[in-house]
Symmetry: C2
Subunit: 579 residues, 2 copies
């Protein structure tokens, strides 16, 4: 391979345009091109470039910064853009199978442009499309072609007005009538209206609808998915018995039409049942490959776990955007300085670094985590498809579920807090809409809620860990898991005993030192450093607070290398300044 | 006084309309009417009722929930509403002096309706008006009458595109020309454009403009304020040499027209100088009651400290609104339950209580703090006006500055985090725009930035505290301040030695117990409670984590009284679940 910056790489990774960031870029201790190639790989970089170039050159994707689109106009534009993405055909079905990571890369590229677009595209193809593909059988595969040609437009209708987290308690009913070989789909009241359904508000013609399946005689077989036409594809008028509409403005993602639907005794053919998990004979007998309803529900909702891993990637993309905006601004914004005439970039201030750089690091760490977990999930799904019923496969499923539940919460909250910090670190300019931090915050926000509320999901991970703990306590088993994510717990007592051992203030600034505290707190470092390492003339005043009240980064303690010593924040507001 | 709920109180505090919250309200252990009278006082409750009744009955203030106003239309409406507030004349200048707390009450009432309205009103009357009144002299008082009749409409133009925090470095110039007895107001380049100025975008006719004052010969006397006409009050067309416009959409407060202005050698009469702090003779000699420029700047920017105290009240109002929305929703939203058929309100879950109730408590605490600090500031200003030059007056000024700096940061961040938690605790419904949590978050957001970035302001408080500490170390002085806010520091070693000492799980749930931890952490409580207090049958499983890793509220440790025991969150995500 040619050295980065030469030959083919120069086209793939051209130099940045010259500007006020040049000074900082010239000071980098590494080649950003090598880092990009290392982190993404050439193939993926090319794929991204294809997508971005297409959008950059297409007037449909041109933006008018500062323009104030009406809700109607924005949604119309978003639908047209979604349609155009299908025309570009960046990724065929074959391509998805060949390199599944390209699916999440495409989502993130579209999201970096506009999350409403990414959501609209994703909900139609991957959520609606995958549900038809994975829950249906051959008789439903005709829909797949129509999905990719956008002859029909779909949505995934699980949530109801009164039931989100508790999906099992969904109240829409599907009563089978053998006389006509039809199901009667019905919403008992407005609280059972399907609600929040992305694409349903204005544009979906078809919906995968979850309902409680009742056989003749009145027995309920639990939640099942049906594919139901809700609008005429030509006129977009609702089908008879379907009351469908838009739920209105949201905090973000307003290019996406989230909707509601109330079904009034809507008759659909028997074949509407997506029958991979359970079917009904023409006469009305229920048949299923699964023995109990709980197992069946788990299998039919299985496609939801992809969502959590996808959300990790989305949150990371938001964090990357926000941190890039804030760090670049901080490198060019000058305020105060050593003299009245010379102001320095705010990035030079310890406080600004302390606010932003941990989020920059988090973006890299979470990016790697989300990609590797995505590939683990691909491996798991391939095992499922191949009929792997080994103990390892089952254990892998549990571990991925636990990692995706915690990882989605961690990534979405880190992005939420990171974007907020970036907004504030850019001061007033961060509050101008044109600088995008507001849109990022608004569009990232539902990542904490959908596909499982973060607080609820964390309990899934806790359950998993407590289960492992119970095995250890009862059977003396070691902490072991297929992806080795829990193995370190075997040595947690010794890990927790580790202490931060440095002998000088300079060591404190060394990122290679583990970030724990000595038994005596940072005060101990002071004492050591005063005794040994720091020349007397530059000894900072000893931090007066007891070590238990130090914030992780005590400004007074580590002023040695700073351009502008700042007072010890931990004195007054230890609880506010802990990152 | 008649018992609450009878006689005149029934009109002042009518019963709530009957509804799904009745059950919880009936269970209250106190009278909400008594609490309201205690917290606000009858006079203030009547004042609020007057304001709210007027707005409720005036069609100009009617809202269309879900309507999507264009930026132009919203700003137009906001201006008309602002004008109407003057017509209602809720509070005369005399009324302000008589009961200054009514000023912040009026601001908060308007803000609870719409912060864009409160900001527009406040910027014109209190910020622009007060600057003219406090920095000007008798020759400027003719403006005051025009301000209250809205013949002119004003803004306060300090910040420039490239200078916010570092106000001393403002670069707009005012050169005095004795030949014409005029100042030449000039912006050297676009970075010196006045920027972010509320009301300047579309509606202000006059601005208090801060500029560096130069006398003939070229000596600079530092920042001074000038009152300058920027638009024709009839046509709203800009005055010659003034390039003025709107800075565009923001994350929130979009009813307010924030603007910019570039001055190109604009000639204004000598009398435009607001000359309380310094004046110029017709011949061009500078005269000032202050000896050095630093002291003069401090005095001319003195009116800014009101802003910080006002922001505390605004943030508290936002927190009150958000917590009310979230707690009411949680009391009516049912999800999961002890059986499949019976779902319980989400407010019954420990996690939901743990997420919301501390913010409810914070709203009460900060409400009291912001009001009492406001009254302290009134006392301080009265001392200033009366010419009090005592040591106590000076010390009071320093203490109020420190409290307002930290209090503004604490209140705005607590509100920011509280609103976010409320948004998430309401799940998807919290993400619907009509439920208002998004607007609250967006409108509260700049409270962390304007009138001093929170991180910068905290250093003001740190400086104050470190100053006191230096006195103690050098002179053995006690921690003492006029408002006694620092006196507790004298006993901080013993305070920090206090330990949480309880002997049973039930004691952990007692809010009267101090919220510290025993030397052994919550694990210690477990061991004690297992040994003594809890019947063996209901002993929860011992929390397996070392005590140093417990979160403040460990779910596993305090499940005894919960409806639905939940796994120990601290095991997996101690760092995420600490409040």
């Amino acid at each position: 391979m040619a050295p980065p910056g030469e030959g083919r790489d120069a086209a793939l990774l051209p130099e940045f345009p010259r500007g006020p960031l040049d000074t900082y870029r010239a000071r980098a201790s590494f080649s950003w091109k090598e880092l990009a190639l290392f982190a993404e790989g050439e193939d993926m970089l090319r794929f991204k470039k294809t997508i971005y170039s297409a959008l950059e050159n297409d007037p449909l994707f041109a933006r008018s910064p500062g323009a104030h689109l009406s809700l109607e106009k924005y949604r119309e534009l978003n639908f047209l853009r979604c349609k155009r993405i299908f025309e570009y055909d960046f990724l065929s079905v074959g391509g998805m199978f060949e390199n599944p990571l390209k699916v999440s890369t495409l989502t993130q590229c579209l999201g970096m442009y506009d999350w409403s677009l990414a959501a609209k595209y994703l909900l139609h193809t991957l959520v609606f499309g995958s549900a038809v593909f994975s829950s249906g059988s051959e008789r439903h595969f005709a829909y797949i072609q129509k999905i990719f040609s956008m002859e029909i437009f779909g949505c995934f209708a699980l949530t109801e007005l009164s039931h989100g987290s508790n999906a099992k308690a969904i109240r829409t009913t599907a009563h089978y009538n053998p006389a006509t070989e039809e199901f009667i789909i019905h919403s008992p009241d407005f609280e059972a209206a399907k609600f929040w359904i992305g694409n349903m508000g204005k544009t979906a013609t078809h919906a995968v609808v979850f309902a409680q399946l009742y056989v003749p005689g009145g027995q309920c077989h639990g939640l099942h998915a049906f594919i139901i036409q809700i609008r005429d594809p030509k006129t977009l008028l609702p089908m008879p018995g379907v009351m469908v509409g838009d739920i209105g403005k949201k905090l973000g993602l307003n290019g996406l039409d989230n909707g509601f639907a109330v079904f009034h005794k809507v008759r659909v053919p028997r074949q509407s049942l997506l029958n991979r998990m359970g079917d009904i004979t023409p006469e009305g007998t229920y048949v299923s490959p699964f023995k109990d309803a709980r197992q069946r529900l788990g299998a039919s909702l299985g496609s939801l776990s992809w969502g959590r891993v996808a959300i990790m990637g989305m949150a990371v993309a938001n964090l990357k955007l926000a941190v890039s905006i804030a760090v670049r601004f901080s490198a060019t914004r000058r305020q105060f300085g050593p003299t009245e005439d010379e102001e320095i970039p705010v990035l030079e201030y310890q406080t600004q670094q302390w606010r932003l750089l941990p989020y920059l690091a988090a973006a890299y760490a979470l990016d790697h985590f989300s990609k590797s977990l995505f590939l683990d999930l691909v491996e798991f799904q391939r095992g499922l498809a191949a009929g792997d019923r080994s103990a390892r496969q089952a254990e892998l499923g549990r571990e991925i579920h636990a990692l995706a539940s915690a990882g989605k919460s961690l990534a979405s909250w880190t992005a939420q807090q990171g974007i907020q910090e970036c907004r504030e670190a850019c001061g007033g300019h961060g509050y101008l809409a044109v600088n995008r931090l507001g849109v990022l915050r608004d569009d990232n926000d539902p990542n904490s809620t959908y596909e499982g509320d973060n607080n609820v999901l964390l309990q899934q991970t806790s359950n998993y860990l407590l289960g492992l703990l119970a095995c250890r306590v009862q059977d003396g088993a070691c902490f072991r898991s297929p992806l080795k994510s829990v193995d370190f717990l075997d040595s947690y007592p010794s890990i927790l005993d580790q202490r931060f051992e440095v002998s000088s203030v300079a060591d404190c600034l060394d990122s290679a030192a583990p970030r724990c505290f000595p038994p005596g707190g940072l005060g101990e470092i002071h004492r050591k450093s005063r005794a040994r390492a720091v020349p007397t003339s530059s000894v900072p005043p000893a931090c007066p607070m007891p070590s238990s009240h130090h914030s992780p980064i005590c400004q007074l303690c580590v002023t040695e290398n700073s351009l502008k010593p700042q007072p010890c924040l931990c004195l007054a507001f230890a609880s506010l300044c802990v990152w």
